[in-house]
Structures are given as C-alpha cells and as structure tokens.
C-alpha cells in the first residue's frame, strides 16, 4: 500500500537520480569537448598570424591556463546561471540562440507528435476492436513499415511528390521572406494567431505540414501498435462486459472504459521514446531546413562551433531526462501497482 509519504519519497528519489544523470552528462560533454584535437584558441583566432604572447593572453582570458577540474567547475557554474558561452561563428551568446531555436523545434515536434497520437490511437483502437480483420492486418503492416522506413527518405519522397511535382507545399524553411510577423511569444503559429495575421498563419502552416507528417510517422506507428495491444488486453475485462451489460452503447464503452485504460502504456511509450523522436526531429529539421535546435546543431558541428554543440547536446539531454522523469512520476501516480 502506498501512502502519500512513500509517493513523495519515490518522487524525491527519482528527482535525485535524474539530477545525477544530468550531472554525469555534463562531465561527459565537457570531457568530450576538451578531447577534440586542436587548440580552441587557435580555432577562434583562425588563420590570422598572432604572436605567442597574444595567444597566451587569450588563453588566460578564457581560463584555459587553469586545470581541467577548475575549468569544469567554472563552466558548470556558468551553465547553472544560464551562461553557455559564445558562438565561435558570430560571437553571440549561445543560450538565447538555442532558446529561440527550441521554439521552432517545439512547434514542429508538438504538431508531429499530435498527428502521430491522433492517427495512432484511432488506427490502433479500430484495429484492436476488429482483431483479425482486413483493417487490422493492414494497420499492423503499415505500422511495421512506419517503424522501418527511413524518416529522411519518407520526407524526401513527400518533397518530391508534394513540393516538386504538384507544387502544393514549399520544399523547406519555416516562413517566407516576404511575409511579416510581429514577434510576441516566438512561436510562429501562435504569434500569427495572436496578432490575427491570417496570411502569416497560412504561410507557416504550409511550411510545417510536410515536416510534421514526416516526424509523425514513427510515433504514429508505435502508438497504433501499443494502443492495439492494450485494447486487446482491456476489451475482455469484466468491467467492460459489465458496462455493456448495463446497456451502455458500444462506442460509449470504448471511449470511457477501453480507451482510458489503454492510454497508460501509450503515454509511457511516448515518454520513453522521446529520445528517439528528438533524434528524428534533428533529421527532419535538417531535411526541411527547419530553423530548429536540430538543424542548428548540425550546422554547428560542421562549422566546428563547439560551444553551440556543447550547449545543444545539454539542451537535448535536459529535455529527455525531464520528460522521462515526468513520465515516471505520473505513471506511478496513475497506476499505484508500479513500484519504481
């Protein structure tokens, strides 16, 4: 039996665990960035001929003359205060750029997962209710294909068909240059709604459709399979039969009893696979030139802009660990049988 005290203790333990994982990750990322061959100072200075004294002065200014331990704790201290250093490319502070990019990623990821969830739950429920039917077989085959298809190739095919051949949607980007949009929250779809800017809304929407569908394939497939499996498990439960016997209509029973219980594993799977979807979003953003965190990271790695790479990886890790933590905690609360 769990009481509120032990639930709190469990949440606390989970929290400490997550913080520990993140702390170790900062060490890993720091070590990785220091292990990169080449002198960071010379990378910054570039090809310009500079005297040894200038280099030494720069090194001292950047704290690179100190021991790795001191450097790590200085860096960690700055990180905790939101200082991720400057981009080597344009000398802008890293954190504001990443936060801005994160908004574009969040808009795309939200829409992608939403499409995936709606399609997946609908397809999975119907397949589960009609087990063995043609539709069920079809769903199982299509979802296995959805797991197996390379995301970037699926996106490529969408571009070829809908952008190149039919010319319905743009091939990439987030908003056309000629469209103006007032900055309110930084979320472009939301901003265009808030400022009642219909032209901008439609423009962003036309840009987001293909990448969102691309991103939705993997979650849709996985959610459909999980939903189907849990519907199959729930559908023969006594309480479902009892509800039917009480004279509730079949759709009402599906909505109120079957779906509700089937959703627990779906939420868990979604949370646990968040890393996979974020990986998918990096690929999707790169393919569609979507100005999000993932594309920024890929550009930074090709430009050897390590402060940005380091910051972006930590960003992703924080998101993944945080979402896993929330899923863990909420799962334990929804289903008290789970002892974390």
């Amino acid at each position: 039996m769990s009481n509120s005290h032990s639930v709190l203790a469990k949440i606390g333990k989970r929290f400490v665990n997550s913080a520990f994982v993140l702390l170790v990750l900062t060490v890993v990322v720091f070590a990785a960035m220091r292990a990169i061959p080449g002198d960071p100072v010379e990378t910054i200075v570039g090809v310009e001929a500079v005297s040894e004294e200038t280099l030494a002065a720069l090194r001292k200014e950047m704290g690179l003359d100190q021991s790795y331990v001191v450097q790590y704790f200085t860096w960690l201290g700055n990180l905790l205060q939101g200082d991720m250093g400057q981009s080597l490319q344009n000398h802008e502070p890293v954190l504001p750029i990443l936060l801005d990019r994160l908004k574009a990623t969040a808009e795309l990821a939200f829409l992608g997962v939403l499409i995936g969830a709606v399609v997946g739950v609908a397809a999975g429920t119907i397949a589960g209710m009609t087990r063995g039917s043609f539709f069920d077989t079809l769903v199982m085959f299509v979802t296995l294909s959805g797991i197996s298809i390379p995301v970037f190739w699926f996106g490529t095919i969408l571009i070829v068909v809908f952008s190149v051949y039919f010319d319905i949607f743009p091939t990439g980007g987030m908003i056309s240059y000629e469209v103006s949009l007032t900055h309110v929250t930084g979320f472009k779809l939301l901003d265009s709604l808030l400022t009642l800017n219909g032209a901008a809304f439609l423009n962003v929407l036309s840009h987001i459709v293909l990448p969102a569908i691309t991103l939705s394939t993997a979650p849709a497939a996985l959610i459909a399979r999980t939903t189907r499996a849990s519907v199959l498990e729930t559908i023969n439960e006594d309480y479902v039969n009892a509800a039917l016997a009480r004279g509730l209509s079949f759709p009402a029973v599906v909505m109120r009893h079957v779906m509700r219980n089937a959703m627990i594993p779906v939420v868990t799977i979604l949370g646990l696979e968040i890393g996979v979807y974020l990986g998918g979003s990096i690929v999707t953003e790169t393919l569609f030139s979507w100005p999000g965190l993932g594309r920024h990271l890929m550009q930074a790695i090709l430009a050897h802009d390590y402060p940005v790479v380091q910051g972006a990886i930590i960003f992703y890790a924080v998101i993944i660990v945080f979402i896993n933590l929330i899923v863990d905690i909420s799962y334990g609360i929804i289903d008290p049988r789970v002892h974390a």
Binding site: N17, F20, V21, L22, V24, L25, V28, V29, A32, M33, A35, I36, P37, R131, G132, D136, T137, M140, F141, L144, S145, I147, S148, I149, P150, V151, F152, W153, T156, I157, I159, V160, V164, T171, R225, T226, A229, G275, V276, L278, G279, I282, V283, T286, L297, M298, I301, L302, Y306, V309, I313, Y316, A317, I320, V321, N324
Partner: protein
C-alpha cells in the same frame, strides 16, 4: 500482421535433442507468415551481399558513358551526377549496410550481455551502479552520441558504428538483466550452486543458454534499427563519407539533385526500407516463436 495464435506454444518444444528442437523451431518460423517473409527477404539480401561483385554490372566507382540519366535497360536505377551506375552502387551498398548493422549490434550485444548478466546475477550494488551508468547512456539519442563522437574523432563510418553500438548497450543490458533475474531463481541454478559450481560456470552454462531466446529476438530487431541509424548518420554527414556507396551517403549526395533528378533519391531509400522491414518482420516473427510472453 494477424499472427495465428497457434504460434505461441514455443515453450512446449521438446527439451531433449537439439536437432528436433531446431526442426520444431523452424517449423514454427515457417508457420508464422511474417517470420517467413522476413526470413526469405533477409536470405535474399545476404545472397546479394555475398555475390555483389557478380551481380553488379559495373565497378562502384567506374564512369559510364552518361551523366544524370533516368532508369533504362542498361542502367535499371539510372546514372548519377558523375556518371556512375546507381544499380551497381546500391548492390555494393547491401554489403556495407549488412556489415555495419552486424558490427554495431555485436558491440551492443557483447557489452550489453556482460553488463546485464552481472547486474541481473549479482543484484544489489553491482546492479545499481551498472544500471545507473546505463541510464546516463540512455539519455543521449544515437544522433547526439554520434555528434559527440564525430566531434572528437571526426565523422566516419567507423565512428558511426561505434556511436550506434554504444547507444544500444543499455537496451541489451536491460533485456539480459530482466531475463537473468527470472532464470537465476530457478531450481536448476540453485542445484548447480549447491554442488559447488562457480558463479562464472553458472552464468556461462546455466543462465546464458536459457536467455538466448529473448537475446536472439532482440538481436534481430536491433539489426534493422542499426542499419537504419547508420543510414541516417551518413545522410547527415556524420557516417560514411562519399564516394563510399553507402545508401544513406548516396541519398545525401542525391539531395542536391532532388528537384531536377528525383530518381537518384528513390532506389537507395527503397533498399534501406526493405532491408529494415525484413529484419523487423523476422524479429517480430521470432519473438512470437521464441519469446511468446513478451508479445506486445
């Protein structure tokens, strides 16, 4: 895939006689439609990889007499931007992708099995420390792991394989740990311990053979994933580098000709898709046969 329920009684395989067990297992695979389709496709791909030099009409880096031509009888998949036969390159790519998948998953399998066996068998502190370490690796998706490794060692196919292999270690460790924990309580392990068998002997002779089922299933499913991941990394420029005929790298090169010559992006993609799908079908089927309890 609606899988017939009669595929489930894998547990009723006769306990004695390896050959008869193997035959019974094979019969179940054949009965299971998805496993059969997967098995046939994987075998075909293996044949293509094995006989690639005989199948491919041209050398992978040989120039033909055309540039950027669509599919024709002479060049069924067309000719690429510098005049190479795409069919020959895709065929050669089968070798690369299968080898990459095998290598990466073998890294995960070996390391994950050792960690999982130790954690599951000893439990307690060993378990806590090992599984915490696994949690840390799990917090990084393979693309980010590849970014880190590419930053340090530079982007290459070999480093991509290391990244993919590393990222899957925790998943293998979890599968093996779970299976080990349930096997370790069984009577024959107790019996072996009571006659004074060493931990090493128990793990190797009593536990490992009895967790092979879930391990084989997970290995097969992971092969598809690893091949897909390798293609993604190469597409992003973090894996195989041109001119290597790796499917993802070919798609990366084809990207520049997407609006003018989209056919270049079609065939390598189909091959990735079919290969990954085949391994997933086979793995799903094997799961029904070898590990009926874990069906989702």
């Amino acid at each position: 895939m609606s899988i017939p329920l009669n595929a489930a009684p894998g547990a009723e395989l006769p306990k004695s006689g390896r050959l008869s067990r193997l035959r019974a297992g094979l019969a179940l695979v054949v009965e299971n439609r998805s496993a059969l389709v997967g098995l046939v496709c994987v075998s075909l791909l293996l044949l293509v990889a094995l006989f690639a030099p005989l199948i491919a009409p041209y050398e992978v880096d040989a120039f033909t007499d055309g540039v950027l031509e669509g599919p024709s009888w002479m060049h069924p998949f067309g000719i690429d931007q510098i005049g190479r036969d795409v069919f020959s390159r895709v065929v050669e790519g089968t070798r690369i992708s299968l080898a990459v998948g095998l290598l990466a998953v073998t890294i995960s399998l070996v390391a994950g099995t050792i960690i999982g066996l130790l954690a599951g068998y000893y439990g307690g502190m060993v378990d806590s420390v090992l599984m915490r370490a696994m949690d840390i690796v799990l917090a990084l998706p393979y693309v980010l792991m590849a970014v880190l490794i590419a930053a340090i060692l530079g982007p290459s196919l070999q480093n991509g394989i290391i990244a993919i292999g590393l990222v899957r270690i925790p998943r293998f460790a979890r599968v093996v740990r779970g299976a080990t924990m349930s096997v370790a309580q069984l009577q024959y392990v107790e019996a072996a311990r009571s006659i004074g068998a060493s931990d090493f002997r128990i793990i190797l002779h009593e536990i490992l053979p009895n967790i092979l089922g879930p391990l084989i299933v997970y290995f097969t499913l992971s092969l598809g994933d690893a091949i897909l991941a390798a293609a993604v990394l190469s597409f992003l420029g973090l894996g195989a580098q041109p001119p290597m005929p790796e499917w993802g790298a070919m798609l990366n090169e084809a990207q520049r000709y997407l609006t003018t010559h989209p056919f270049l992006s079609v065939f390598p993609g189909i091959f990735i898709f079919v290969t990954v799908l085949s391994f997933n079908l086979l793995g799903d089927g094997l799961r029904d046969v070898l590990d009926p309890k874990s069906r989702r």
